[in-house]
């Protein structure tokens, strides 16, 4: 048993969970809902074990470090956090239709990590700049933030479907949660994500200060994380102060998530210090 195998299998487990959630929503089958949750839990279990194995394997290779050091590992971790945050949401509010929009995101992240030929799976030794206790704090806070924004985006999509979709035949949209609930959950996820994005930027700044002696240097990754922060700060202000709700906030979650994705992937195409993300 090695981590690669476990994580490859986990990709399919997440795929199955996504399938069950979507099936439960489209065909309105209660039994599929149950299967979906248990499959997701299995996926989270596999994802966690896979990461832990990878951690151990890096020590066996004599280059031990937390499995959060390159694009492959971050995608696997991203999938885990999306799945976990969604599961907490499901337990807390018992709304399973969100799963049809959230678990595919975890699946995509894993599938991209496992299947893209551009992403190396081999465990690499840490380069000197990454050797720091801040690595774990920085990556974990950032990805909790990203995952919350991913969920806000998923709920935002649901909201837009409910607002602009035509539901005369299928009844699909009537099985989505009430708009006021989606609105509140979207907002909640954005606030949660914003707190962790702020934490991620701050841990990054403190780390940069200990590695290079400056907490801010307008490196493209730093700049884009700040742009993302500006976008969500704008969302929070129009919500708190102008009482923007529903559709407009849903559109914002899409723009915000686009900024997140650019901060995550797009920046690798720009020159800068964070190029070990590629």
């Amino acid at each position: 048993m090695n981590s690669s195998l476990i994580l490859s299998v986990t990709t399919f487990v997440y795929g199955a969970a996504a399938f069950f959630y979507i099936a439960a929503w489209i065909f309105n089958v209660k039994s599929a809902e149950k299967a979906a949750t248990w499959t997701l839990i299995l996926g989270i279990f596999g994802n966690t074990i896979g990461l832990l194995f990878r951690w151990k394997e890096s020590y066996d290779l004599g280059i031990g470090h937390a499995p959060l050091s390159n694009l492959y590992e971050s995608l696997v971790f991203f999938a885990l956090v999306i799945a976990l945050v969604y599961l907490v949401l499901e337990k807390k509010y018992s709304i399973k239709t969100i799963g049809a929009f959230a678990t595919p995101l975890a699946f995509f992240s894993m599938a991209y990590a496992s299947l893209s030929p551009k992403i190396g799976e081999t465990i690499q030794p840490l380069m000197p700049a990454l050797k720091s206790n801040w690595l774990i704090a920085h990556v974990v806070t950032c990805f909790i933030g990203y995952a919350a924004f991913a969920l806000a985006f998923g709920i935002g999509l649901m909201f837009m479907m409910a607002s602009w979709g035509n539901d005369s035949k299928t009844g699909l949209l009537s099985r989505l949660p009430e708009k006021s609930i989606m609105d509140e959950l979207m907002h909640k996820m954005v606030m949660f994500g914003f707190l962790f994005l702020t934490g991620g930027i701050i841990t990054g700044a403190v780390w940069a200060n200990s590695a290079w002696g400056r907490y801010w240097g307008w490196d493209p990754k730093e700049t884009w994380s700040l742009i993302t922060w500006f976008v969500y700060a704008t969302l929070l202000h129009v919500r708190f102060m102008k009482d923007w709700r529903g559709k407009r906030i849903a559109v914002f979650t899409v723009i915000g998530f686009a900024a997140v994705l650019f901060t995550y992937f797009g920046v690798n195409y720009l020159p800068g210090l964070h190029s070990y993300g590629s």
């Binding site: 050797k131 949660f192 020159p271």
Partner: protein, 451 residues
Amino acid sequence: MSTSQKPSKNLVWQLFISVKFTVIVLILLAITSAAGTIIPQNGDPQQYIEMYGTFGSSLIQVFDLFDMYHSWWFRSLMGLLTINIIICTIDRWPATWRIITSKKFNPEQLLTKKPYKDFKDERTPVDLKPLYTSFMKKQYTVKGVHTLQNGFRVYGEKGRWSKLGVPVVHMSIVLILIGALVGSFWGFDGYVNVPEGGSADRIRLRNSNKIMELGFKVACKDFNIEYYESGAVKEYRSALQILKNDKVLLEKDIIVNDPLKFNGIRFFQSSYGALPPENIEIKIVSKDSQEPSIYKTKIGETIQLPGNSGELTITRFNKDYHFKKVELGQAIEGELRLNDKDPVKIVLPYKYPTFDKMRKGQWIISLEEYDNKFYTGLQVRRDPGIFLVYLGFILILGGCWVIFFSSHQKILLEVTTVAEISQTKIFGSTTRNKMDFKQRIEKMANELKLL
């Protein structure tokens, strides 16, 4: 105060407290910041002309787009955001403070809305009153217990101080910006290359390119690169000493992520490089006789070739020689002057001793040996604003936590008897997180039933 001044002052004030203004500034900051990640910053002027043409690059010059994060207009945008934040905080402070310090609690206001929850209980109001009161006291600040004709009311609140979250977050942003300003005025950012076994007492500043005296010496006893088996770099390590009047005050090995600190000045491992060698050994072989001769020399010195056929001057050390775009590494360059011939430039890469053969000359010259020493490149920084920045970091996280996860909540429990059965109603209000509040009240109802 004259009345004619008032409206204009109000207009500016109104502008700065409008959310529209904030949103526009935030969006402008986002867009311009993004532009700065696409246009290369602090690049070569030639590069801009190649990329954007003469007109485009002159536009870039005019608007400082090559260093836009430090341009007057980007700083002005940040300034506007700061003023906006400060004015909004001042504008709202009296109301915020009133809510935080107010002792008033109007139960009637809660009663105007529908109760969140109501349920029946077998027990009488007299039995329930002490139970409910002590229950409320555990979770809320109880503001009153009223006896009604056929029952009672108990009400309380919590989280009044959560109103502080917003001003704390906004002021911490200002604090971070002030910290950055303090750092840029009273701090410095420089670099120095210290040769192995050598020392330096002055650094070059990055912004002004000026030399700055440190007032002490920083010495590098040793520089080392450690590699992984794969050949990737594992660690850069410089053994540093701080010296004053030849006395060692501090000694530390620095690596990336672990700088040396002295007198508020920090020394970071940032680069390294090869030093020009002091002693060089050159091998010269005659094409005809294959007879090698070895010469010990230095940069700038001249060697007489065998049989007085000419001379060779060692001109310079090239630490990164490229031949037709292929990297050949460290090399020695020289000028060869054979009798009756024009001087030729020769290059002797250490790793490729047969390189000079390609010249097809009378003599085949190669670099036999040289002392390969390094210098360590240190980033030298002082930032007296860092304390403010870090304080801002802590406050902004705490403030966001309070804004997002706490709220000012009011709860009123009303018990009345209708036909010998107690009827409990839970009224309430919250400033944020309505869904969680509802869940909380559901839970509370279950707990009250079990008391």
